[in-house]
């Protein structure tokens, strides 16, 4: 099959960027979407052109590295799947596909389809931990966990941190991500000691990072490859309101906006000058 691609090209975070059109004439329908891009890049490299930069690692939907919009939908048209799990058989011969990076002020574009998602790491760092007894390992079944709680925690823990929820949200909110992280610890007995402070710390961090607010649009749930449910946001809101009215707000510390991540520094650096 023949595929035409309109891909966002941007050299570095300061470059204004533009769309560039590519033709991929011999696409096998059994290829995954990223393999199709590999073929394109091979073609570009052999022509001496700069390949299209995109993130990927596991290529089986578990690491959360890949992700961009295909024709206006985060991770493309396949539901409950990442871009790397999407295959070319989901498209038709002659399709014109527009590939656009996640867009949010908290996700600066580093190059082409790669964005810096370290803001999500800082949300986790702000409160996504539990206190444990260090030293000798505790007996595994010491704390009993009811099956429904374990299931809900497990379900929320499926979030791979890809950022599609932010990308698809008209408010660029990170509510589904933050809600998933809060629910995954908050459903477990081990997560209770920090529960109140966690809701405040993580939502405040998301606010400080410049993500928008949740207005219950529901696009995040629809595109989430991990099937995270909208109800995690409701739980997060309840924890937050309880904690704030309970007077925890002044006890919680927010993290400073950090210096640019290593990736950001790498891409922001001037491209190396060629020897004359």
């Amino acid at each position: 099959m023949r595929i035409t691609l309109d891909i966002w090209r941007q050299k570095n975070p300061r470059d204004p960027g533009r769309f560039e059109r590519f033709e991929v004439p011999n696409v096998n329908e059994h290829m995954s979407f990223l393999e199709m891009l590999d073929v394109l890049n091979q073609q570009l490299v052999s022509e001496g052109k700069e390949p299209v930069a995109f993130d990927s690692d596991c290529r089986e939907g578990i690491c959360g590295m890949c992700g961009f919009l295909i024709n206006g939908e985060a991770h493309g048209p396949l539901r409950n799947a990442t871009v790397c799990q999407t295959h070319m058989r989901h498209f038709k011969d002659g399709d014109v596909l527009r590939l656009e990076p996640w867009r949010a002020s908290a996700f600066p574009v580093l190059r082409d389809l790669i964005v810096d998602r370290s803001a999500l790491d800082r949300i986790i760092a702000a409160g996504g931990y539990t206190s444990t007894r260090a030293g000798s390992a505790a007996e595994a079944n010491q704390i009993l966990i009811p099956k429904p709680s374990a299931d809900k925690a497990m379900e929320a823990a499926a979030c791979i941190g890809c950022g599609a929820c932010v990308a698809s949200c008209p408010n660029a909110a990170a509510a589904l991500f933050t809600g998933a992280k809060i629910a995954h610890l908050g459903h477990l007995p081990q997560g209770q000691p920090e529960r109140m402070g966690r809701a405040i710390a993580m939502t405040s961090q998301a606010h400080a990072e410049g993500f928008g607010h949740c207005t219950t649009i529901g696009e995040c749930e629809a595109v989430c490859p991990a099937g995270i449910k909208l109800e995690v946001i409701s739980r997060m809101n309840k924890d937050f309101i309880k904690a704030t009215l309970g007077g925890y707000a002044n006890e919680v510390q927010t993290l400073a906006a950090l210096p640019p991540s290593a990736a950001m520094r790498f891409f922001e650096a001037e491209p190396p000058k060629k020897e004359p």
């Binding site: 002020s105 928008g212 607010h213 949740c214 696009e219 409701s234």
Partner: protein, 230 residues
């Protein structure tokens, strides 16, 4: 993960202040004030339907509402504060959201969301403009063609029998319907009262009341235009 932790000292805030300073808290305050405004418009709509029982009935109802000035002013102040908090929070959050995605998508296709959910700020601002017009028209009377204090029935017939008067009213009520279609659903989520089991029921509740209120309010101008009331 390239993350190190350096705490920032934030200014100390009261509990209510802490709610207002956060995005989640602002939405919770919007939900609470939204409930107050929803209960008000519901009672208001039911009161309006007395138009169909004749001039004497609704004029008497209006008198009853004014029987106790302290109660009247208490209600007015509660509503004013609710509108103020609700609208200010909505506008502030909307401005933050503009900054959250400075570069928009070339191509963005909503998968599941309703138009109502994506246009809350516009339906809200429409309601705000209408409320100002409505007070000038039927409470204060300065934009009413033939205003007389206490003559509720005659005043509303005078205003709504003009095409422009009826049109403004109907458009605003459609806006209100859109706002409630999503708002009455979203407020449960904002207060942390929603979950996957109850969410479809909440959706039906929201749609039901949005349709009910739009039809109930619109019945009055439609009846005036059709000559059933006048």
């Amino acid at each position: 993960m390239s993350t190190s932790v350096s705490p920032v000292s934030a200014p100390r805030a009261t509990r209510l202040g802490a709610l207002w300073n956060s995005a989640v808290g602002k939405k919770a305050l919007m939900a609470v004030t939204g409930i107050v405004l929803f209960l008000f418009v519901l009672v208001h709509m039911i009161g309006n339907l007395q138009v169909f029982q004749g001039a004497a009935k609704i004029n008497h109802y209006a008198e009853l509402l004014r029987i106790s000035p302290p109660f009247l002013w208490f209600t007015r102040i509660v509503l004013l504060v609710a509108v103020f908090v609700h609208a200010l929070a909505g506008i502030e959050l909307w401005m933050e959201r503009q900054r959250a995605r400075p570069v928009g998508y070339q191509d963005y296709r909503p998968v599941v969301s309703s138009t109502a959910s994506r246009t809350m700020i516009w339906s809200g601002l429409l309601i705000l403009l209408f409320v100002v017009y409505h007070l000038l028209d039927l409470t204060i009377g300065v934009v009413n063609p033939r205003f007389e204090h206490g003559q509720v029935y005659a005043n509303l017939v005078a205003s709504l029998s003009r095409a422009v008067g009826a049109a403004i009213y109907l458009v605003a009520m459609i806006g209100l319907g859109f706002h409630l279609w999503h708002g009455l659903y979203s407020m449960f989520q904002s207060l942390g009262l929603s979950n996957r089991g109850i969410s479809p029921t909440i959706q039906k509740f929201a749609i039901g009341f949005a349709v009910l209120l739009t039809l109930g309010f619109s019945a009055v101008p439609l009846a005036v235009i059709l000559g059933l009331v006048g």
